[in-house]
């Protein structure tokens, strides 16, 4: 499929002789090729992480252990999270940024193309290392993606592999983020001031700062785990005077901004798609930017809400509860502004719009459960139950991942030069949108009824909702195969896409002024923005 894409882009490549074959990809410094590699990589990881989710849902289909032993189950939950977060969601957003940021700001390429190559090529190595632990004696990491000590210090050989992989992913993310910041700050076309910049670029600019701020914190935390395990330090080991709660504080100081790293670019995508198919500019664009910035700021002062049950002074409980609830305000502004964008618009329901609308509804449901979780006293009931699992899957699957799929459906014709199969895309949408709810909505009930998360087996009163959830899971997983078929078909051919692709909707933005697919090197002469 990559070869076909290569073929198409070469039709438009008049001046430059890019290397062909494997060298084109290994040594690529082209933002479009690197973006493609990121996206393909994240799709592969989505399926690997998804297959682990299938194992989890199969084991939880009924009480009793049928498929995996508890240790393997813990490896599945841990690896599922690590792969989906660091392998699927984050690289897919970086891939979209690689493709779209230069096109949207009128730049010829990313500012640091060689670093761009390195930041991508670290990822296959990081995930080969991480996935190899599945086949090692003792198996893969099983202490949860949160890696809480002292449990994680009981890991076998998988632990140094995990930490090295996390370091590589972190280095990759930091380089990707630096590249995006430098590109946006230095390479905007003349006349494109920051407030004229598309919302997707804005959301990524802010996300990139979050990444630069918190990935080193994660690297520091896991390095301390490493020295605790192998070099006799006692940062987190209570037997040596260490403090296991300090790890949680440091981890969640990274972890909460990380949550927004996985959703802010989605906000940007939705802010691109909704106005196009509402045929109306984004309502309150400036306040949308301020809302993203406020969410990013607040993300640094709410980490304690992950740790209410771990024991915290009363004042800290109050502070983290209030600060967390405050996040609802800018997030509410975003949802209201999106609604106002559709209000008195002229709506049509192409696949990207369908995903954006589903995002609005289902992300809001995740927001509501988030608001409930913020209330400290009730959090003592919700914490570490399936209610939390339902909450974060609602914001990550029909939130972040639906946004990525919406973005792919929005820009795929631009990338490949072909329209895709609309019927297949709509089928994929409806199956995904229905089964994601069958999969995750019952988990609210399970959590409220008292089922803890991360358990391989459960008391029999939880059977019914688990069965429903598992059926939803299998159907959701199977529906994603349609997505791959659709992409492969679209890359290989199809009706020619026009430059604006969505002619009826007249999308705005520099990317739609280029041919579809865009030339291998675009905007070699900077466009003028009036």
């Amino acid at each position: 499929m990559a070869q076909d894409l290569a073929h198409d882009t070469h039709d438009h490549d008049d001046h430059d002789h890019a290397p062909t074959g494997i060298k084109r990809w290994l040594f690529s410094t082209n933002h479009k090729d690197i973006g493609t590699m990121y996206l393909v990589f994240s799709l592969i990881m989505f399926f690997i992480g998804g297959s682990m989710a299938m194992v989890i849902r199969a084991e939880l289909f009924k009480p009793g252990l049928q498929i995996v032993d508890p240790e393997r189950f813990n490896q599945m939950t841990t690896m599922h999270a690590l792969i989906m977060i660091f392998g699927a969601v984050m690289p897919s957003f970086v891939g979209l940024a690689n493709w779209m940021v230069p096109l949207q700001i009128g730049a010829p390429d990313m500012a640091l193309p060689r670093m761009n190559n390195l930041s991508f090529w670290l990822l296959p190595f990081a995930f080969t290392i991480l996935l190899s632990t599945l086949f090692m004696p003792g198996g893969a990491p099983a202490a949860g993606w949160t890696m809480y000590p002292p449990l994680v210090l009981q890991s076998g050989d998988s632990m140094p592999m995990l930490i090295f992989a996390v370091h590589l992913m972190g280095a990759s993310s930091i380089m990707g983020a630096i590249n995006i910041v430098v590109t946006i700050m230095n390479m905007r076309a003349p006349g494109m001031n920051l407030l004229k910049m598309p919302l997707f670029c804005w959301s990524w600019l802010i996300t990139a700062y979050l990444l630069i701020a918190v990935m080193p914190v994660l690297a520091g935390a896991v390095t301390m785990l490493l020295t605790d395990h192998f070099f006799g330090t006692s940062f987190f080991n209570p037997a040596g005077g260490g403090d296991p709660l300090m790890f949680e504080h440091v981890f969640w100081f990274f972890g909460h901004p990380e949550v927004y790293i996985m959703i802010l670019p989605a906000f940007g995508i939705i802010s691109e798609i909704l106005p196009t198919f509402s045929r109306k500019p984004l309502f309150g664009a400036t306040s949308m930017i301020y809302a993203i910035a406020s969410i990013a700021f607040l993300s640094f002062i709410v980490w304690g809400h992950h740790m209410f049950v771990d024991g915290m002074p009363m004042a800290a409980q109050l502070f983290f509860m209030m600060s967390t609830m405050l996040i609802a305000v800018p997030t509410g502004v975003k949802v209201f502004n999106w609604t106002a964008t559709m209000w008195r618009g002229s709506l049509s329901f192409e696949p990207p719009m369908l995903f954006a609308i589903a995002f609005l509804f289902l992300f809001s449901i995740g927001g509501f459960s988030g608001l409930m979780l913020a209330l400290t006293p009730v959090d003592f009931q919700y914490n570490n139950t399936y209610f939390v699992v339902a909450h974060f899957h609602y914001v990550l699957v029909p939130g972040a991942i639906f946004a990525v799929m919406g973005a792919v459906y929005y820009w795929l014709p631009k990338w490949t030069g072909h329209m895709y199969d609309m019927t297949l895309a709509k089928t994929h949408f409806w199956l995904s949108a229905i089964f994601v709810n069958v999969l995750f909505f019952p988990q609210h009930f399970l959590g409220l009824a008292g089922m803890p998360r991360r358990i391989p087996d459960y008391a029999v009163q939880f059977t019914d909702w688990n069965m429903v959830s598992s059926i939803g899971g299998f159907a959701f997983g199977a529906s994603q195969i349609l997505f791959v078929i659709l992409i492969v078909k679209c890359v290989r051919g199809g009706q020619k896409a026009t430059d604006a692709v969505w002619d009826g909707a007249m999308p705005t933005g520099l990317e739609w002024t280029l041919s579809s697919p865009p030339p291998f090197h675009s905007f070699t002469v900077a466009p003028e923005i009036k």
Partner: protein, 308 residues
């Protein structure tokens, strides 16, 4: 520290509905210790919502949960309603013409910033009051030190129960049935995964303070019907308290709620709530057995003897 039994309110018998009837029935029919294996499960969850629970705190938390839930429902009706209206009313296929003058309105944006803030304050005030109540550890009548281990709980009584100390692990029938390919249908095991050999025994109507820590990794002690969950962190002590309503005696079940390794799913928390009189009797029995065991030492573990 410990209050004399006469200070503790008497159970109010059958006034407390089905659960207390069931508990009272089995208590009278089977006697105190037989409750451990009786089917009188006191669980107030209906299978899809939080349990109302059997303590004032759990009811307050349930009320706050429902308040937050209904606020969310109202917001959802308004916001989703506006979205659905747009989806139906402003369709290009129905000839809708975009109103491109509607790009920005400081007035409405201020409104939909202020209104959520007000709603949040409405939610935060009762929540903050509850936090203050939860953190009030004063005037407890009985303290119990709970220590998490991979994968069992240790209960050490203080105050009136000083000297009682035992481990609580998953019951043997569950432990057998939960093995991979055990061939046992979990539905045939009573209280599958939620039953232990020696439950924690506490009196009703008494403020019980739990002093929680861990001997190895982080665990969490979780009893949904008491709305109680806290982490057991090695090297740290977390304090929590609960006071079960008189008349709500029975067996309450929960489980470890923090990933603690291979058998995280198999370390239940079971609390046997008895009337203060029955609790007193139980304490005396335990103490007598401890004395007996000390007089005639054997190789058997003390905790196993003390609870037979």
């Amino acid at each position: 520290m410990s209050a004399p039994a006469s200070d503790i309110r008497r159970p109010r018998g059958l006034l407390h509905g089905r659960l207390s009837k069931a508990a009272a029935r089995s208590a009278s029919a089977l006697g105190g210790s037989a409750l451990l294996c009786a089917s009188a499960v006191a669980n107030t969850s209906n299978g899809y919502n939080l349990p109302v629970g059997v303590t004032q705190m759990s009811r307050d938390i349930y009320d706050l949960h429902m308040e937050a839930f209904w606020i969310c429902v109202v917001i959802a009706i308004v916001v989703f309603g506006a979205m659905i209206y747009s989806l139906v009313k402003f369709r290009a296929s129905q000839g809708a013409v975009p109103d491109t003058t509607m790009l920005h309105s400081t007035k409405v944006e201020i409104i939909w910033t202020i209104v959520p803030v007000v709603i949040l304050v409405v939610m935060a005030i009762p929540a903050a009051e509850l936090i203050l109540k939860m953190e009030d550890m004063r005037n407890s009548d009985l303290s119990i030190r709970v220590t998490g281990y991979q994968w069992k709980w240790e209960y050490q009584y203080m105050d009136a129960g000083a000297g009682i100390d035992f481990f609580s692990t998953l019951k043997q029938d569950s432990n057998f049935a939960r093995e991979l390919h055990s061939g046992v249908d979990p539905n045939t095991v009573p209280n599958y995964l939620l039953d232990v050999d020696h439950p924690l025994v506490v009196p009703s109507g008494t403020k019980v303070r739990i002093i929680l820590t861990s001997g190895d990794v982080i665990h969490a002690w979780y009893v949904p019907d008491f709305a109680l969950k806290r982490s057991a962190v090695p090297g740290f002590i977390n304090e929590l308290w609960f006071k079960v309503d008189p008349g709500k005696e029975g067996i309450y079940r929960g489980q470890c709620a923090a990933l603690c390794g291979r058998d995280h799913g198999f370390m239940p928390v079971v609390v046997d709530v008895r009337t203060p009189d029955d609790f007193k009797k139980w304490v005396e029995e335990q103490k007598a057995q401890i004395k007996q065991a000390a007089a005639a030492p054997t190789d058997a573990p003390r905790s196993a003897q003390a609870l037979n």
